[in-house]
């Protein structure tokens, strides 16, 4: 077991190698590319499972942290050297398994989904690149390495979102995603710099010297900065900004819905399971820092950072949920749902600590990937149609997709008992309930849960129930050649096996995962904290009232959803949405995303515009002026030099030249081209030399 720990760096390396090789392959070698990428992901999965087993083993001997650290010198810098390192601990192991498992399924799904896309070699190259970056973040033991993989992930997301670059909207969305996440990354970067400045190292655990270890934390906690903030909280907040940018929390969430322009597997992989989860993972990773260096028990997170995390999480959860309600595009609904669920994760982290947040992250990864892939299969089936108004009645047409989608929907909504979503959300609500500082997060969480259940049922009703409204419709293709499908009702048909198998697998795992974190047998939390879990139904009794509350809320959500949308299925594709008819203004507001984009345009973009205007003006006037000044000066100097030269030098100099020329002509007689005269001269020289030597020698 120990072997895999030291070679943990293999896991991110394999997909990276695959990406590199695929990058070199020509477009027509797509099968090889697919094989390589999927193979590398499969291998990564195997290694991750091995690593997971290793941490389980470590767990047995009760080590506080069954962690294995492998640090090495990246490059020597004078006396010191920049050190990087790889880390394997339960948190990382879990994430490794989740990322590689979900990634593999998504790879397999995209084989079918991208079958008709000519550029699929390039697609798989970017996917493999992204997978390796994500795995890199998970196993990184140094903030620097984490930041590097963080950036590669950003690039990969830009490439994947803008995969169909011939679509202007995709290109814009990719740029937007990249820029917004960059804003978050600046925060992360500043945090990193401050950390390095304060502790001198960026390694998390360096047997005592790491920045997340006791003495560094106490040192950070101790140094107070203006405004009563300790250095630890300052760094934590900055890191939080990075997490917010990457995970698409409220202020920086605008890019995530637009990122739906990319192919569905991309959305599934990046915007559901892994990338957005990276923000949460970052917070989980630097959690000791978050708690202000003081090891507070779970739940009473009083440190400012944690309060911020919880606040942001709660706010995002509700806000995104509201927006999700009014969306028409199937993928946009899921995108907003992801944003809100991430809000829940942050809420869980803020209130309940690492275990709660991570458990929801893992479960959410599985069922959100399931939902996205389901949506992908739906879109694929309806010939690239993404607007739910043109769908409907797919229950009969795409039975497998319907079934798996239903499982995902119930897990997301939080239907009790069988579905993992219920348990993880319940944990969060429980933690939020028992959170000391304030009750508001709990309230927002409950409202969010209700809204989640509502819009999911709305989506189910619109898509799977009623009549198929997609018969005659404007062709909304991605410009990729339309593959003609056989089948009924405008050619809708069930997706091929390679797409439905992952759906079934994910559905199965969604069902299974729930049991890991139930209050009765909190295996997940125990595993993370490193001690063993034992079955105890007593705790279940203690948590009973909270479970009851969430069940009621979910029931209410599904009920209203069914009441509004389920009873009378939508008549025509262009018929107004029932909500819209009742609260037109609110609905249209929500549909337009509460004008957040416009707000940003108005503020940030205009500010930027103004600043660039100023710079342009400044450059033109100040610098331009300077240059012209210099030009003038040199012309002046040239003029004066010429006049000086004219007067003073020439006259004197010419006279000198004349005399030398005269002398030259005199001597030129000597050199008249006759070789023999030169030889004669030589001879004379020799003779006089001989005579002189003779004379000197004789008399000397």
């Amino acid at each position: 077991m120990h072997a895999i720990a030291t070679h943990i760096w293999l896991i991110p390396l394999l997909p990276l190698l695959a990406a590199g090789v695929v990058a070199l392959l020509p477009k027509r070698a797509s099968t090889a590319a697919i094989g390589l990428a999927t193979g590398s992901m499969g291998l990564a999965l195997v290694l991750s499972l091995a690593a997971f087993l290793a941490t389980l083993g470590g767990h047995a001997d009760g080590a506080a942290h069954a962690t294995h650290i492998g640090n090495f010198d990246w490059f020597r810098l004078g006396t010191g050297s920049v050190r990087l390192g790889f880390l394997l601990d339960p948190l990382g192991a879990v994430m490794l398994v989740m990322v590689s498992f979900v990634g593999l399924l998504i790879f397999i799904f995209s084989i079918g989904y991208m079958a008709h896309d000519p550029n699929r070699t390039r697609f798989f190259c970017f996917l493999a690149l992204f997978a390796s970056a994500m795995l890199g973040v998970v196993v990184a033991n140094s903030l620097l390495l984490l930041f590097a993989c963080w950036e590669v992930m950003g690039v990969a997301s830009y490439l994947l979102i803008g995969f169909w670059y011939h679509k202007p909207s995709a290109a814009v969305a990719a740029k937007k995603a990249f820029l917004v996440t960059r804003i978050g990354d600046i925060g992360l970067f500043l945090g990193m710099l401050w950390m390095y400045h304060a502790t001198g190292t960026l390694l998390f655990f360096d047997d005592g010297r790491g920045c997340l270890e006791a003495d560094a934390l106490t040192q950070l906690g101790g140094t107070a900065v203006r405004g009563g903030l300790t250095a630890a909280t300052g760094i934590a907040l900055l890191l939080l900004v990075g997490a917010i940018g990457k995970s698409g929390q409220v202020p920086l969430h605008v890019w995530l819905p637009d990122a739906m322009e990319g192919p569905t597997p991309v959305s599934a992989l990046i915007h559901a399971a892994t990338m957005v989860a990276a923000g949460v993972f970052l917070v989980a990773r630097v959690f000791p820092l978050m708690t202000g260096g003081v090891d507070t028990p779970v739940g009473e997170g009083t440190s400012v950072a944690l309060q911020a995390v919880a606040g942001v999480g709660a706010l995002t959860a509700v806000f995104a949920a509201c927006l999700a309600v009014a969306q028409q595009d199937i993928k946009r609904i899921l995108a907003y749902s992801t944003v809100s669920q991430l809000g829940y994760m942050f809420l869980g982290l803020g209130t309940g600590g690492v275990a709660v947040g991570m458990f929801h992250l893992i479960t959410h990864a599985f069922f959100k990937a399931l939902l996205f892939l389901g949506a992908g299969s739906v879109i694929h089936g309806c010939h690239e149609q993404q607007d739910i108004r043109w769908m409907g009645g797919l229950r009969r047409l795409m039975p497998v997709t319907y079934a798996t989608y239903a499982v995902g929907m119930m897990a997301l909504a939080g239907v009790p008992l069988f579905f993992s979503g219920f348990w993880s959300k319940d944990e969060i609500l429980h933690a939020a309930w028992s959170w000391a500082p304030s009750r508001w997060p709990f309230v927002l969480g409950v409202v969010g849960a209700f809204l989640t259940a509502f819009y999911m049922t709305r989506q189910m009703a619109e898509v799977f129930f009623g009549q198929y409204r997609g018969g005659v419709r404007p062709h909304v293709g991605h410009g990729i050649p339309e593959a003609t499908h056989g089948g009924t009702a405008g050619g809708v048909h069930e997706s091929p096996g390679v797409m439905t198998v992952p759906l079934v697998l994910l559905a199965g795992s969604t069902l299974v995962l729930g049991w890991l974190g139930t209050p009765a047998w909190p295996w997940f939390e125990a595993y993370l904290n490193g001690h063993s879990a034992h079955l105890d139904f007593g705790r279940l009794a203690a948590a009973w009232p909270m479970m009851l509350v969430s069940v009621v809320v979910v029931a209410l959500g599904i009920g209203t959803g069914w009441w509004v949308y389920g009873r009378r299925s939508r008549v025509g594709a262009t018929a107004p949405d029932p909500l819209e008819s009742q609260f037109p203004r609110i609905f249209r507001g929500l549909q337009a995303r509460l004008y957040v984009d416009e707000l940003y345009d108005a503020t940030v973009v205009r500010l930027h515009h103004v600043v660039s205007m100023v710079c342009g003006w400044m450059d033109e006037l100040v610098l331009g002026g300077l240059v012209t000044l210099v030009g003038l000066g040199s012309r002046l100097a040239a003029f004066s030099a010429r006049s000086l030269d004219e007067l003073l030098v020439n006259l004197g100099f010419d006279a000198g030249c004349a005399s030398t020329r005269w002398g030259g002509r005199g001597f030129s007689w000597l050199q008249n081209g006759s070789a023999q005269r030169y030889l004669g001269g030589l001879g004379l020289g020799l003779a006089t030399l001989a005579i002189l030597v003779l004379w000197g020698w004789r008399h000397g």
Partner: protein, 103 residues
């Protein structure tokens, strides 16, 4: 009269004849012949000094003469090639024809 002197006188005579000829003859080839003679005069003096010199063991004189023969061969080849090139441009071989390089 040391043993090498007669050879040196012979070399001097050869040198003088060579120089006189080189200076007097108009034909470039014969100037070259004159130079060739001067070269051989130098060779002869080398060998004479080697033969009757104080320490003949390292054969430096002999070697020098040998190398100078090789070089003289190369020099003759290049000189004559020059003359051919000169002839091609000036249609005549006399040195008067090749006096454009002057002040």
């Amino acid at each position: 009269m040391n043993p090498a002197q007669p050879y040196l006188f012979l070399a001097a005579a050869l040198f003088i004849i060579g120089m006189a000829g080189a200076l007097a003859r108009r034909n470039a080839i014969l100037a070259l012949v004159g130079i060739e003679l001067m070269l051989n005069a130098a060779n002869l003096s080398f060998v004479a000094f080697w033969r009757h010199g104080p320490h003949p063991d390292p054969q430096t004189g002999l070697m020098f003469a040998l190398f100078s023969i090789a070089i003289a061969g190369a020099e003759a080849a290049v000189g004559l090639a020059l003359i051919i090139a000169l002839f091609r441009h000036r249609r005549s071989v006399s040195l008067e024809a090749a006096e454009s390089l002057k002040g």
